[in-house]
């Protein structure tokens, strides 16, 4: 399932409820019992995922990531949006629409 949302710096996202997460070294394994599927998030995706426990804007996520990792602004934005699009596609995060 592909996400229909087009993400930009102002998009706000949050983790989807009902996921079970287990540490897998520096990665993280996510179990979605309802779907009968599991996922392994690599270090980059894990870093993004951790920042979505509460609703966060893409710009805030990028700013937080750049505090912890040596990455330039353009690369960070590009990688973050790519990760978020994948997480959206798998239903691991959801977009919070304005006003909701």
């Amino acid at each position: 399932m592909l996400a229909s949302h087009s993400l930009d710096l102002t998009s706000t996202l949050v983790q989807t409820e009902g996921m079970f997460a287990a540490e897998l070294g520096r990665e993280i394994a996510m179990l979605n019992i309802a779907r009968g599927r599991y996922y392994v998030l690599n270090v980059t995706a894990h870093a993004v995922w951790r920042r979505l426990e509460k609703p966060a804007r893409v710009s805030d996520i990028c700013e937080s990531l750049r505090r912890d990792f040596e990455v330039d602004c353009a690369t960070c934005y590009k990688e973050t949006v790519a990760v978020l699009s994948e997480l959206l596609g798998e239903g691991l995060v959801r977009v919070i629409e304005c006003g909701s």
Partner: protein, 290 residues
């Protein structure tokens, strides 16, 4: 019903056997009216597993002891371990330098055969079929020694020079015979490594390949004993978390080897060499941390 006093103190698990007139007419598993988890095997017996501490078996007098034992040490034990929050791995294992080395793979992959050949070289068999894995006091995965009897096909027995394997089975045992090995130590051991057996015709005499944590998790999840019971018991999240711990703390390898019994000595040499050469590798990082 007969109760035996344990030689090492209060038993960890009670196994209570009761004789009845008839066996179940159909297979069934799931929660019973009494709150225990029930496994009924048509024509054999009924197991009630309760609270990770008790297995109550009801059987007719003439039911096959070996078949009953296979269900007890297989699905019934796996259920009990799920109830305890432990991970029942469908594996055969040996003891190497006081640590546990496990072999996983589908039925007929050769797990028991490799362990039986290793036993001939002096390694104690830690378990066959179900290996109990739990978290130790430090959080590291540990394995509990289980049954030291291995189940082998006739060609494996012949290659071992042990044609005296007991029982010509059916049902869960299939065509396998049971070979009773020298029991290993009755204790918990650190889980050193896991080898996933894979057939390969283009790997020479054999090849050992370390896998990533993500692939290790898949291998472990694919080899959980009776995962459907964990779902029925509502404890699959716990099982999943422990599987992730094992995948991140224990080194998991693919063991590629030609599917033949004639070159087993070379394969065992490869394994023994690998056990003394394996080194941890540093993880790769996507971003460089400050």
């Amino acid at each position: 019903m007969r109760k035996c006093r344990s030689p090492v103190g209060e038993p960890d698990v009670w196994i209570i056997v009761e004789v009845c007139e008839t066996s179940p007419s159909e297979n069934r598993y799931g929660p019973s009216e009494s709150g225990a988890f029930e496994i009924s095997v048509a024509g054999l017996g009924r197991y009630l597993i309760r609270a990770g501490r008790e297995i109550r078996l009801t059987r007719p007098e003439d039911a096959s002891d070996d078949e009953l034992r296979a269900w007890l040490l297989g699905p019934a034990l796996a259920t009990l371990l799920h109830q305890r929050g432990a991970l029942p791995l469908h594996a055969s294992a040996v003891v190497v330098d006081r640590k546990c080395v496990a072999f996983v793979g589908p039925c007929g992959a050769g797990k028991s055969t490799i362990c039986a050949f290793l036993a001939q070289r002096g390694y104690a068999v830690a378990s066959d079929d179900v290996l109990a894995i739990s978290r130790g006091p430090s959080g590291m995965p540990q394995a509990g020694a289980g049954s030291s009897s291995v189940r082998l096909m006739a060609d494996s027995l012949a290659a071992l020079g042990a044609n005296h394997g007991e029982h010509y089975g059916r049902g869960l045992l299939g065509e396998k015979r049971v070979l009773h090995m020298q029991p290993g130590p009755v204790r918990l051991m650190a889980l050193q490594s896991i080898y996933a057996l894979e057939d390969s015709s283009d790997c020479g005499h054999g090849e050992v390949v370390k896998v990533s944590s993500a692939d290790a998790l898949k291998i472990i999840l694919d080899n959980i004993s009776r995962p459907e019971f964990a779902n029925e018991l509502g404890c699959f999240e716990c099982t999943f978390a422990l599987a992730a711990t094992v995948a991140s703390q224990v080194t998991v390898y693919r063991l590629l080897r030609p599917r033949t019994l004639s070159d087993m000595a070379t394969l065992l040499d490869l394994l023994e060499t690998h056990w003394f050469r394996a080194k941890a590798r540093r993880p790769r990082r996507a971003f460089r941390e400050r």
